[in-house]
């Protein structure tokens, strides 16, 4: 059964704001065909952290708590986001409302600078991060591969950074592997979670092979033909990439090298004809 697909528990070497995390796959809760599929996908992913949001409640629907109950039943840690916020002020108020509702000081901080690319506004992001850290939040900034922004966010007190792979929902994979690699090199000790733009397990594995600490995704699972199985596929790929990173990948070579020993090749030295 494919939902039995691997989510190996690895040594809980990953620690986020002092919390040791067993799974290196963080999963979003949106865009699934149904709440039931969402719940099963989270289980199949073996995720220990899921992202959520706050949205305007309507007197009629009053549906918010129903969703929260469902998430609670999954026994995972929730990380509220500030998705859709266009200014530090919106993001700050949204983070506070989320902290009160979800009872956690973790926040995935998004300050969106452009409605088409949904990309981080690094200026607003830094401003909001400083304010929220002052208010006692544990900030997980959704940022780009920009080294300098990363440095300022870390100096502001962000103990974890979440650079994008590509714009949200594109599924393009690592748009700039070179820059991501240098970001990883430059922050050897800061947990780095690749967030957004991942479209296939091979993308996630590649990020983990580079040494990134975890991957956060949503669309690639929720919009798969079979989200539950896709969740298990990502879990396996992320575990594989991490294990490969720890197990030491071979060096890429320009020229071929035989695997089967050359010594003792039959007919060697005889006229090939």
């Amino acid at each position: 059964m494919n939902t039995a697909l691997p989510n190996p528990t690895m040594p809980p070497s990953l620690s986020l704001y002092g919390v040791s995390v067993s799974s290196r796959l963080l999963l979003g809760t949106a865009l699934y065909p149904s709440p039931k599929v969402m719940a099963e996908s989270v289980k199949a992913a073996g995720a220990s952290i899921v992202t959520v949001s706050v949205r305007r409640e309507s007197a009629r629907a009053n549906s918010g708590m129903g969703f929260f109950e469902l998430v609670r039943s999954l026994n995972v840690r929730v990380m509220p986001n500030t998705a859709g916020c266009r200014t530090p002020r919106e993001a700050i108020a949204t983070a506070h409302m989320a902290r009160e509702l979800f009872g956690t000081d973790w926040v995935k901080l998004e300050v969106i600078g452009n409605d088409d690319t949904l990309q981080p506004d690094l200026f607003g992001l830094l401003e909001a991060a400083r304010a929220l850290i002052g208010d006692g939040f544990k900030v997980f900034p959704y940022t780009t591969e920009d080294l300098i922004a990363a440095e300022r966010l870390r100096d502001a007190g962000c103990e974890v950074l979440m650079p994008w792979a590509a714009p949200i929902g594109t599924g393009r994979g690592l748009a700039n592997p070179y820059a991501l690699r240098s970001l990883r090199t430059y922050f050897p000790d800061t947990p780095l979670i690749v967030d957004a733009g991942i479209g296939a397990p091979s993308h996630a594995a590649a990020a983990m092979e580079m040494g990134f600490d975890a991957v956060l995704l949503n669309t690639a699972v929720a919009r798969a033909a079979d989200p539950v199985r896709m969740a298990s596929a990502f879990a396996a790929a992320i575990a594989a990439g991490r294990t490969a990173f720890e197990a030491g990948l071979m060096e890429m070579r320009d020229t071929a090298a035989p695997s089967t020993p050359v010594a003792g090749t039959p007919f060697f030295g005889l006229d090939p004809s």
Partner: protein, 67 residues
């Protein structure tokens, strides 16, 4: 006395004098929603002591799916 305020972006006329009363009038469980007034967060405990004024912009939110 009646006030015109904006709740989640929609103009509403209400008799509520405080944010807490407004939340109650909308039939929301006190602990089921979070609130902001004119762009700033208002903690649950402060709703009672937060009076409403004309054209106030009120946000009332609850948990939802997120990526």
């Amino acid at each position: 006395m009646q006030l015109k305020v904006f709740v989640n972006g929609e103009a509403t006329v209400t008799s509520a004098a405080t944010l807490a009363e407004l939340v109650a009038q909308f039939g929301f469980a006190e602990t089921g929603v979070a609130t902001a007034l004119n762009g700033d967060f208002v903690p649950r405990g402060a709703r009672q002591s937060t009076p409403l004024a004309g054209d106030d912009k009120v946000e009332i939110v609850s948990p939802r799916q997120g990526g």
